[in-house]
Amino acid sequence: MKLGNYIIKRSLLMLLVMFGVVAIVFAIVHVIPADPVGALLGGNAPPAVVDRMKEQLGLNKPLFIQFIDYIWGVIHGNLGNSIQSGRPVVQDIMEYFPVTLQLSIVAIFISIILGIFLGIFSAVYRNKWIDHFSRIFSILGVSMPVFWTGLILLLVFYYILGWLPGTGQLSLFVIPPERITGMILVDSLLTGNWEAFWNGLRHIILPAAVLGYAATASIARITRASMLDVLTQDYIRTAKAKGMSKKVVIYRHALKNALIPVVTIIGLTFGGLLEGAVLTETVFGLPGLGRYIVNALLNLDYPAIMGGTLFIALIYSLVNLSVDLIYAMLDPRMRA
């Protein structure tokens, strides 16, 4: 099996990409004419204090040296300390990321199910009203600003109807599960804490729905296109000629083929979700990586910005690598 070689090759390329990401972010962040120390100290501190603080943080060294130092640190698994919190960035990420991951997973689950169903309906009933409806429905998801949809849903489901909880990951007086993965739902399942599980599930519905709905359109669109494409293929005609029922033709013969390109889009969509998480986490007050990076950006916390983006880039690349592998496994043509 040459799979190993392939993975090694891809991983090396990924390293290169990561290096580029670091370089780009480093460049962007450091040409910002701003002063993270100033942000840290607030407006009142006199200049002498500012200078001393810079020295403490090593921000007065030449940029090139700072870059080398940073790369050196990254190689050793050290993303530096956050200027704001003073804690190691790695520690911060490990604390925040599970929240984002959990949110993204639930969201992508929602968007995959919704997207694939809408896509199939659209394709099968092409140019009928079902097609129009499901396309408009899915496109509406990408048409509204995520934060606005989030607030409206909060208003309706939390404030007016009172069906779902508002903010956070758990209700106040629910005892959180012991931290194992950091993902509340997983941890509560692992520890058998059912109250926390149901509560956590209720809390994640709104943000995940908002996020997932926004990602639905791209999945629905590719499912539809791919399904339409597949339905005109010769092997579908063969299946029909074999006397297979419509259901078997669509779900057994067409869908399996149609889903192959959908898999690739899921990787890209995942990237979009991480992006949308920035907004959703703010609206729903979730302690995730998105908010962490936003806060870091707003305070120009260099190490946190770089560490956070680098990490997201890494996750994104890993997801896409696995998507490519899954793709190859799903499609026998790639194995030949």
Partner: protein, 295 residues
Amino acid sequence: MILEKVSEFMEKRKPIFEDWKHTFYLWRKTKLATVGTIIVLIFVVVAIIGPLFVPYDPIVQNMKDRLQPPSFQHFFGTDQFGRDIFSRVISGAMIEVEIIIIVSMISGGIGLILGVLAGYFGGVVDEVLMRTTDMFLAFPGLILAMAFAAMLGPSLINTIIAISLVGWTVFARLARAEAMKVKNQPYIESIKALGAGKTRIISLHVTPMCISPVLVQLTLRMGTVILTAASLGFLGLGVRPPLPEWGAMVSDGRSFLVEQWWISTFPGIAIAIVVLGFNLLGDGLRDIMDPRLRR
């Protein structure tokens, strides 16, 4: 005499018109594309002539009339500065159009050129370009746009630059894929066999073929551009006030959502409709340009 010439000319070029007629027919057949086109047309028309007809100045404040609910005086109500939201939404259309056009030209242009070059030449050129797009693709666009916006300072032009710099990669990939497909087609080969140079082949023959997928994606992305602008606004990195940019209006009005819902709702609806329009149009264009449908 001239009329004859014209009719002769028309007669000769009938197939060209036929082709357009075909396109038009397909367009009319794809109902959602029709809807999308109409929305986008209305949007553009409103952007161009709307400001001439708005009942109030979109920028001048009138604190006496602040936070008025929708009424006949103010169709969409007024905001916290007493500005007429209807007028602001109408005037804002032009800003969106500007953002969309400039972003499309920058990111579509960069993407098309780089993508075609990479796709046509392959090898090292391709490798370098693809790794670069990987880098840009690897981190979420919004965060990158935020970083750019934070770096350059929030303003209309910086928003545009930020979104463009993030957005070109998609087009580069599309153009590259198309160029790779096209360059091995017999019709390009025959031009090569005729002795055409690389410049000629790329500019006259390959690039035109790569435009349509880029164009379709651009149309689809135009909606996203508005949304990204809105998201930047939400994080406080959007355009400079007091410009009536829709995204900024939605995000500025969001703290009034419970009591004065109209402030952010109307621009929000405007965004949703226009983005929907662009998406429908883009989907439709994709269908219309689909060679399988054309044959």
